[in-house]
Symmetry: C2
């Protein structure tokens, strides 16, 4: 019999199929195909993008020239623009504000033929350092409340216009609803127990081991109990930390290792599926009215979500916020990280 | 400049592009292609489905034989099963219950070559009557709290296995989160103002007319102010009614007319895009603890949502619950329902 499972961090319900054997061939998805036409994110094509806002460069190289390992530029067709005032206002019952914010592209590598998980550990570490640097910089802009970093890998995950391996950053003047829901639940739990709900659940997952995909000294990767998507993964720092930008240099390398590990497993085991990756971080701390979400300090626990896109979302999911997942996370964890009998 | 808009009924944020001219050719989607292989939902193939639970039949025809205009059967591979007990339980921090509920297929027409909007008004009325009949029947099952009726049209909307024109029904033992959010906001507004938030917003939309797509005596179709998707549409009864099953016979025909009208406009103007349609109804009234959502009586206002699937959802939407929409609803309403100058 199928199960109806509730996600403890969001309250979201998922119908989990009873399937226990699953083959990647059961799913119909397109492996990433890299277009070979001119690409503005390849080394030596730096002049084709807006000027860089951040880069990690080899000694002696110059901004907007070759010699970088990771390079951040404004999106040339941004969804939000950095210039202007927000001007929050009403139109009768409707609320709106100007599209002020930022939209940046993080080129993860100068090479067109590499995916994130195919980079060396110190190169993936550079990508993570770029995330941190942009976050620290954007926190100084008082109009920005939230920075969302995400990645679309493959056409089925929305990467239909750019095939170079990139991440994206959107700086928002409001905290997104999906994050608010997590913040509310974590805050209420902390208020009741004086403990972090993520820390408590991670302890249970480490003890049970049924859904663990990978682990190192600093990070744990699991298939979440109420996974929405087949082979969904989440990566958590093992020690409590609400803000991603407080990550230590040692943790940067550990995160690079576990990312390379789990994205490689996904690629090998499932056959290179499209996926979306995102950083789930707390909002910036801003002075605000009492009770407002952006005064939250330490009751959140940042993490990364990796959502393979190998089944189509249908009217069921859109209408309800309920999900149907044909691959239980225990099966996914077994596929991705097979236990070798002694 | 783009705008950031808030949906008044859900609190969801949407970045609305500044585009004001849009061509269907700007989008890359597949028109519905009907497979011609054997179809269990075609007339004379009734023996290939589980026995029908409801049908509207011509006089003299027999159950599970030909002679019907709409026919409802259990899904042969249901996501939830009608047999068994729910047994809600915990696994440490995790909540789960057995997959008890119902999953039914509503064949909207005996003909394989017709879409919903290509049927005659009295045939679409039969489909709506079938929705009502199933809802009234399932309300008697005390394990069911919510009935979700939805439709996937075209492969891009998730209809990849069945090309016959069908709707689906899922009976759930819990109220879905997306519906709960709407119920909470409607209840709080009603408590504060003693008026329905939907009734108030509809008045504003009727007066402003910038987003009206179609209207008749009983129903209004609009492009919602904070539409998530290009050419998104919503249909509301003009007089307050929280429960779809209380629809009057006259309203059934009016709803059939406006559905045929707006789905036809979508097909003609945008070029037959894939879409998801859903009924957004209140939960069944059940005895429950005070403050529980399923005691809500009259502060909701049922409606239908139609979500064309012509842009890919990306990591941005999944990570945030925020949406990016390249076609503002004012543009969509103008495209779908051009104003003819006198």
């Amino acid at each position: 019999m199928s199960q109806i499972r509730k996600d403890v961090f969001t309250g979201r319900w998922v119908i989990m199929a009873e399937t226990t054997t699953v083959q990647p061939a059961d799913f119909n998805f397109k492996r990433l195909v890299r277009e070979t036409k001119f690409c503005p994110f390849c080394e030596t094509n730096e002049a084709s993008t807006p000027p860089e806002v951040f880069a990690i460069r080899s000694p002696g190289s110059f901004p907007n020239g070759p010699g970088w390992s990771v390079r951040v530029v404004p999106n040339s067709a941004p969804r939000l623009r950095i210039e202007g005032e927000l001007v929050p206002r009403a139109d009768g019952f409707h609320d709106l504000m100007n599209g002020v914010g930022a939209h940046e592209i993080i080129a993860e590598t100068p090479r067109h033929d590499r995916s994130l998980h195919e980079l060396e550990i110190h190169k993936i570490s550079d990508v993570i350092r770029a995330y941190v640097a942009r976050m620290v910089d954007l926190e100084r802009d008082k109009r920005v409340r939230y920075v969302l970093i995400f990645k679309n890998h493959g056409e089925g995950a929305g990467a239909h216009t750019i095939s170079h391996s990139i991440s994206q950053l959107v700086a928002l003047p409001v905290t997104p609803r999906a994050v608010k829901t997590k913040l509310m639940i974590a805050r209420d739990y902390f208020a009741a127990k004086e403990r972090c709900i993520y820390c408590d659940v991670l302890q249970q997952e480490i003890k049970g081991r049924k859904r663990v995909i990978a682990e190192n000294a600093d990070f744990l990767a699991i298939a979440p109990f109420a996974s929405r998507f087949p082979f969904e993964m989440a990566i958590f720092p093992k020690s409590h930390n609400s803000a991603f930008s407080r990550i230590s240099p040692g943790q940067v390398e550990s995160l690079a290792r576990i990312l390379r590990d789990v994205l490689g497993k996904l690629d090998n085991t499932v056959g290179g599926p499209p996926y979306n990756l995102s950083l789930q971080d707390r909002p910036f701390l801003r002075p605000a009215a009492p009770g407002s979400w952006n005064t939250i300090e330490d009751d959140f626990h940042w993490h990364m979500e990796i959502l393979p896109q190998i089944v189509r979302v249908t009217g069921f999911e859109w209408a309800s916020g309920f999900f149907y997942n044909p691959v239980p996370p225990e099966t996914a964890a077994r596929c991705l990280s097979p236990v070798v009998d002694a």
